[in-house]
């Protein structure tokens, strides 16, 4: 059962075990660098622990709160350092399921290349919705937008991506 609070060391451990993979995938999808993603996810949990007093369980879920921290951490990262624009080959090649399921690794690489060209907010929405599989309500909570606005923004983002891929 996933933890709902972050008051003790056990809560922190439980939270990490539950959501480290999810956060890592999202960060990796955004940064395309494994080591940077790992460092950043680790930093996210440190930050979450240090600022655990500001977490309000009645207002948001712990998972959404961690995602919000992650998004802010990525924004800070992009603000201080120019990210790599290219997706590393070995990262995609290591994902065997991708090739099997989609049938073509190049297609995945192509799609993520186009995602990279979207505005930052559209990238966040598309990756949270289709890469991480979160619903619109959760995404609205994470990015701090209204539900309807999030839904419209998400629809427009996917249209933009489709346009870019044509």
């Amino acid at each position: 059962m996933p933890p709902t609070t972050l008051e003790t060391a056990a809560d922190l451990e439980s939270a990490f075990v539950t959501w480290n993979r999810l956060l890592f995938q999202y960060v990796f999808a955004r940064l395309r660098q494994r080591e940077v993603a790992e460092d950043l996810v680790q930093e996210v949990f440190f930050k979450a622990w240090r600022s655990r007093e500001s977490f309000n369980a009645e207002k948001s879920s712990l998972k959404n709160w961690l995602f919000a921290i992650t998004i802010n951490a990525i924004r800070d990262y992009f603000r201080t350092k120019k990210p790599e624009s290219e997706i590393l080959t070995e990262d995609l090649a290591s994902t065997q399921e991708v090739a099997r399921e989609v049938g073509d690794k190049d297609l995945v690489r192509f799609v993520f290349k186009k995602v990279k060209k979207l505005p930052e907010r559209d990238q966040e929405l598309i990756l949270l919705r289709y890469n991480q599989g979160l619903n619109v309500i959760e995404i609205a909570d994470i990015v701090g937008m209204e539900y309807s606005a999030t839904k419209v923004a998400l629809h427009r983002a996917i249209k933009k991506l489709k346009t870019l891929c044509e």
Partner: protein, 429 residues
């Protein structure tokens, strides 16, 4: 390369990209997080505890700071208002009378507890002697307190508007003075220190004179109008007194004593109801013809008690016996070699004895006045024979009444000789 990609293909492509974090990273990160969490948890707890202590300090400090003024106010109120609660409704003179009486009670306590011992002076290197001296000093201070409070009470009494209140105030003060004379003379018997004896004696003398003036003024007050009353009051009573001043007067008296005694007649007693020109008995004069001031004091002591009949003196209560014995011893040893303070003590004792005798005289006369009335009431309920007896009793009572009226009118009773007269040779009769 990829043309006409459907939306579902896009979503599937996005969803299919799910890289796994390395197990080593997961293990290392988990260990670091655990260490961090445990360390910070301990720090957090200690921080919480420290903050708690700090919070408590701030809370109680603030509370004390805020409560300081109210608490201080309450304490002052309790300390100032409550002690005066019972005397708050009293007139101002009565409060000073109460203070004087409190000091008198303390003097009585000193006497009753034996702190002023009736013993001979011991060498000063004994701690008991030092304690006795300090007790005597305390007595002197208390006497001075009584005097000053009485003076203030007199001053406050003179500004009372109502004549009835003034008479009541003077009566209360007169009673206070009489009690002072009695109690202080009790203490005087036990004093050993020369300086203390002198100062207390002067206080007694001053109180005695003041009491006489006060009684006289009180009696004439009702017959005077308000203006003359105030003037007379101020002239007779409102003279300030201090023991130091009295001591200075004593030194002057010592210097001029011989010259005075050659020219002047011996000092006379000033008993209530007594005329001013009453003189000492001649044999007493011859016996105590003073060559200096201390001899004069002996003479004064005798003169003070001279007006009282031996019958009265022999009827005194046991309370007066120590005074009599002491006075007798002092006067018997009256000589040029006597201690200086003995003269003072003799006079002070005489004053105290006189006050007591006067009181007993008044009490006796009151009893004599009441007795025929009671007897006549009883006789009204009895038979004719009893009525005859009642007439005889009535005559007897009338005689007693006439005697007591004589006493009240200020006439001196005729001294009676009895078997105890030898014991009172020092009375000068």
């Amino acid at each position: 390369m990829f043309r006409n990609i459907s939306e579902s293909t896009l979503k599937k492509s996005l969803r299919s990209y799910a890289p796994e974090p390395s197990a080593l990273w997961q293990k290392e990160t988990l260990a670091r997080l655990r260490t961090l969490a445990q360390t910070e948890e301990v720090e957090y707890k200690s921080e919480v505890i420290a903050w708690s202590w700090r919070t408590r300090f701030i809370f109680w400090g603030g509370l004390l700071r805020r409560a300081f003024v109210p608490v201080l106010t309450v304490l002052i109120a309790v300390g100032v208002i409550l002690p005066n609660w019972q005397t708050a409704d009293l007139p101002e003179y009565a409060r000073h009378v109460e203070k004087a009486r409190t000091a008198l009670k303390q003097i009585e306590h000193y006497v009753a507890s034996g702190e002023i011992a009736l013993t001979e002076p011991t060498p000063s290197f004994f701690p008991q002697a030092e304690a006795a001296v300090s007790s005597e000093e305390s007595v002197v201070e208390l006497v001075e307190t009584v005097r000053s409070e009485t003076k203030i009470a007199l001053e406050k009494a003179q500004i009372l508007e109502s004549e009835g209140e003034t008479v009541a105030a003077l009566s209360a003060i007169a009673e206070l003075q009489q009690d002072t004379l009695e109690i202080v003379s009790d203490a005087l018997v036990r004093l050993q220190d020369d300086s203390a004896v002198e100062r207390v004696t002067f206080a007694l003398e001053d109180t005695s004179e003041e009491n006489l003036n006060l009684e006289a003024h009180r009696k004439t007050l009702l017959a005077m109008n308000t203006n003359s009353r105030t003037l007379a009051f101020e002239n007779q009573i409102a003279a300030p007194f201090s023991l130091e001043k009295a001591a200075d007067q004593d030194q002057q008296e010592d210097t001029l004593a011989s010259a005075k005694m050659v020219k002047e007649t011996p000092p006379q007693a000033e008993a209530p109801g007594e005329t001013q020109d009453q003189k000492l008995p001649e044999n007493s004069l011859e016996k105590t013809l003073p060559s200096n001031n201390r001899q004069m004091k002996f003479a004064e002591a005798e003169a003070i008690l001279a007006p009282f009949a031996l019958a009265e003196k022999s009827r005194v209560s046991p309370r007066l016996e120590p005074k009599f014995q002491k006075l007798e011893a002092i006067l018997k040893s009256c000589s040029a070699d006597s201690e200086h303070c003995e003269g003072h003590k003799a006079k002070g004792l005489a004053i105290g004895v006189r006050v007591r005798l006067e009181r007993e005289r008044h009490e006796q006369s009151d009893q004599d006045r009441e007795t025929p009335e009671q007897k006549s009431e009883n006789s009204g309920q009895s038979s004719n024979e009893e009525n005859n007896e009642t007439h005889e009793d009535g005559r007897g009572s009338q005689e007693e009444n006439s005697k007591s009226e004589d006493q009240d009118s200020g006439l001196l009773p005729v001294p009676e000789q009895d078997s105890n007269s030898k014991e009172f040779l020092w009375w000068g009769k």
